[in-house]
């Protein structure tokens, strides 16, 4: 069974002083994968500046916009229509997720191949005292441990907007467990990696028809690699396995690799950016 979504992303940038020249890169286009298929993209900006597609260093599609005329304010909007195929998140997991996988994840070959997603990064570094915050129980499968971790984080952090920001590190979250999806996801990545499981940060959209947390911004969740199974998505903000309400855009080591908007603006002074996201199911 499949159904269609329409996703609208809007951003407004205001600059204190006039800008002569700017380039922006948006990492907001839903990727094509086994469970989703992009049908159409419509991009608009208030300056009618040239836009085009490119890719980031990890191969995810980006939208590039360059301006060369003076401005102080610019609005962007992009509308994506896509088809999402519904799937059973449990799929083949129980068959292949076997005890010998705990040995496999410790092997050198495995560690070398998965190095990017086992490496500690700025946003997934645990303070020294917290490395054993969540230790896997090897009498149950990796998948079951990850599900437990997902729930543990969901209960540990209190969802609260306005407490953290894009540069918040885990030390702060652990000392004062309040935050948004990004913080839930960074902690999940950190603790899963601490148990030798390759884990990556995913940015995307969440269809909130079912009352999930996601506050009409871009959403974040994690994907963990289970040997013989593959990458499985966990949404610790909502204590969910990733399902057909999750629309993936990109993944990376942490938020830094996935930030939806990067800009190079030749201007002095402050600027203010606001984003909004709307996801609608069209059946």
């Amino acid at each position: 069974m499949s159904f269609e979504y329409s996703v609208t992303y809007c951003a407004e940038n205001n600059y204190e002083n006039p800008v002569e020249n700017a380039s922006w890169q948006f990492l907001i286009v839903p990727e094509n994968n086994d469970t989703q298929e992009l049908i159409s993209v419509e991009i608009k900006n208030s300056l009618e500046a040239k836009s085009g597609f490119s890719q980031n260093g990890f191969g995810f599609q980006t939208i590039r916009i360059n301006t060369s005329e003076r401005f102080q304010k610019i609005n962007f909007s992009a509308t994506f229509k896509l088809k999402k195929i519904s799937f059973n998140p449990f799929g083949q997991i129980p068959i292949f997720d076997i005890p010998s996988n705990y040995e496999l994840v410790k092997s050198l070959n495995f560690k070398v191949d998965q190095e990017p997603y086992l490496r500690e990064t700025k946003y997934t570094a645990l303070p020294a005292s917290s490395e054993n915050l969540f230790v896997f129980d090897t009498s149950i499968s990796i998948f079951e441990n990850l599900q437990k971790l997902n729930k543990w984080i969901y209960l540990f952090i209190h969802f609260n907007t306005g407490v953290t920001h894009v540069n918040t590190l885990l030390e702060e979250i652990i000392n004062n467990p309040e935050g948004v999806c990004q913080d839930f996801t960074h902690l999940f990545c950190a603790l899963s990696k601490a148990n030798n499981i390759p884990t990556r940060y995913v940015s995307g959209y969440l269809h909130q028809g079912n009352g999930y947390f996601g506050d009409s911004q871009m959403h974040a969740w994690a994907e963990a690699f289970i040997p013989q199974v593959g990458w499985i998505g966990f949404d610790p903000t909502n204590n969910l396995l990733v399902n057909d309400n999750h629309i993936k855009v990109a993944h990376g080591k942490d938020y830094n690799d996935c930030s939806p908007l990067k800009g190079v603006v030749y201007s002095q002074g402050a600027n203010k950016t606001s984003h909004s996201v709307e996801v609608q199911a069209e059946q």
Binding site: S23, Q25, K50, G52, S54, Q55, N56, G57, F58, T62, R64, N66, L108, N109, K111, V112, D113, E115, P116, L118, R119, K253, K262, V264
Partner: protein, 488 residues
């Protein structure tokens, strides 16, 4: 006539025979390759020499051949101190250096290809995974990317010393943005101008062919589908310490010198802004550090780069030399694996020796280093230009404690090596108005292209001008000499 006026050049030279003197044997006689030079110089007085040396120096100043030294408070513009008395290398000895430099460049290139593709050397347990995964210069964005022609380190600067045992040792392989080649060429020009009579008595290889070979190498790694590539040199700008060199190389190759703001990217192709409209750029010799080349992909605060350049690169529409992410192999901890890296990829024994190195990241070796700091050189693994180096036998007890603490705080950041006794070369010292022994090393320049390779026959002999000093980097107050490689 005042007898002092006729004071022969080397009359007050003190030949400390515990040091390896490149010119004089322990019995005081000049070595073979220097004999003719010695005879010719011998006819002159020290005053003649000073006059010539000053002429050469002023020619540097007049041409604006300067560099900048950074310290905590300010930057200063300096002339690179130059000494007219050249280093001379016989053909057979040079052959060893040349083969050794090519061997290292090729091995490093294969190593870089491997760690950005199959990572076999790590899986085979030769190079530890930690060394790669803890490196800030290992770019995940480069995994699986095939650089044009398969080349990462197009330009390498290999620092070589002659130890008191008479053998050559490599101190460092510089493959980020090694500089100094323009000084080699300027030194030669200045020397020929001042001493053409002496120079003409030797059959010396030219060094002015560097630029044409560099252009050849850059053109050999043009992107697919490009017929005649448009090459440019990108510089961080006129305040960069090596700006003279960037402008020199662009001029000598006959290509444009650009800054980031002169280029732009559209549809993943790179263009140069000109008064006649945009011109596509195919190969970029980048003298901007890779963290700064594209603010959309790497450091967002960089104003030196070109937004979108990296996407153009991974799409194969432009070639960057050296390739982004090459710096992972220009790490003093990787250096210590060079003999194994050469063996692994080329199945050869290293032609040039490595200096024995202790890794502070290994507990046993850390213990040794902490206990023997007074007889070791401690270096941070990721700093260039001679910054952060501590030489054990020059440190006071309290300074040793400071170094020990620093190492304990961050063992991965440090390696240590025995204090190598660099050879010495007679160098004119202004203060004593005479020649004195000063430690020297040699930076050689190797180019690697698509089925092409080149080693500049010559190099930058770098001199530590302070007595007894072992650090020869220009940023640490070193000077330089011309280096003659003799033809058979």
């Amino acid at each position: 006539m005042n007898p002092d006026v006729k004071k022969p050049i080397f009359s007050s030279y003190i030949n400390n025979t515990s040091l390896f003197d490149e010119v004089f044997n322990t019995n005081g006689a000049a070595k073979n390759v220097y004999q003719k030079l010695f005879e010719l110089y011998g006819n002159h007085s020290i005053q003649d020499y000073v006059q010539l040396n000053n002429k050469a120096k002023s020619s540097f100043f007049n041409q604006g051949i300067t560099f900048q030294v950074y310290d905590n408070k300010e930057t200063q513009e300096k002339i690179f101190p130059f000494d007219l008395f050249p280093g001379i290398i016989a053909e057979d000895e040079w052959e060893i250096i040349e083969r050794g430099a090519i061997q290292r460049s090729k091995a490093l290139n294969l190593f870089l290809w491997d760690i950005y593709h199959d990572k076999k050397i790590i899986k085979d347990g030769i190079v530890p995974l930690d060394l790669i995964s803890s490196s800030a210069n290992y770019f995940h964005q480069m995994i699986g990317v095939d650089p044009p022609g398969g080349i990462y380190n197009h330009i390498s600067g290999t620092d070589i010393i002659k130890h008191s045992d008479g053998n050559y040792y490599v101190l460092e392989d510089n493959i980020r943005c090694p500089s100094g080649v323009s000084y080699v060429i300027c030194n030669r020009t200045a020397l020929k101008r001042a001493l053409f009579g002496v120079f003409n008595h030797y059959k010396t290889h030219s060094v002015t062919n560097y630029a044409e070979n560099l252009l050849d190498i850059l053109e050999s790694v043009k992107p697919k589908g490009v017929d005649v590539p448009n090459c440019v040199v990108i510089t961080p700008g006129m305040y960069n310490s090596a700006f003279y060199e960037h402008s020199y190389l662009a001029k000598a190759m006959g290509v444009e010198l650009v800054e980031g703001r002169d280029l732009f990217v559209e549809n993943d192709f790179v263009y140069m802004k000109t008064i006649r409209g945009p011109i596509k750029v195919d190969v970029i010799y980048r003298r901007v550090d890779d963290q700064f080349i594209d603010p959309l992909e790497f450091r967002a605060d960089s104003s030196l780069g070109v937004p979108g350049l990296f996407a153009a690169y991974i799409k194969g529409n432009v070639c960057l030399a050296n390739a982004p992410g090459t710096g992972v192999a220009d790490d003093k901890a990787i250096y210590t694996y060079m003999p194994k890296i050469i063996k692994y990829y080329l199945d050869e024994t290293p032609i040039l020796n490595n200096v024995h190195t202790y890794h502070c990241s290994r507990p046993n070796e850390l213990k040794y280093v902490l206990e023997h700091i007074h007889e070791l050189v401690v270096k941070p693994v990721d700093e260039a230009g001679g910054y952060g180096i501590s030489i054990g036998n020059r440190l006071s007890k309290s300074e040793i404690k400071v170094v020990q603490e620093e190492i304990k705080q961050n063992p991965r950041k440090y390696i240590a090596q025995p204090i190598m006794s660099l050879s010495v070369h007679p160098t004119y010292i202004d203060d004593s108005e005479s020649f004195e022994q000063r430690h020297v090393d040699l930076r050689t320049f190797t180019l690697l292209g698509n089925k092409k390779e080149f080693v500049l026959k010559g190099g930058l002999s770098r001199v530590a001008l302070k007595k007894g000093n072992l650090i020869v980097n220009s940023s640490q107050g070193g000077g330089s000499k011309d280096t003659w490689v003799l033809k058979k």
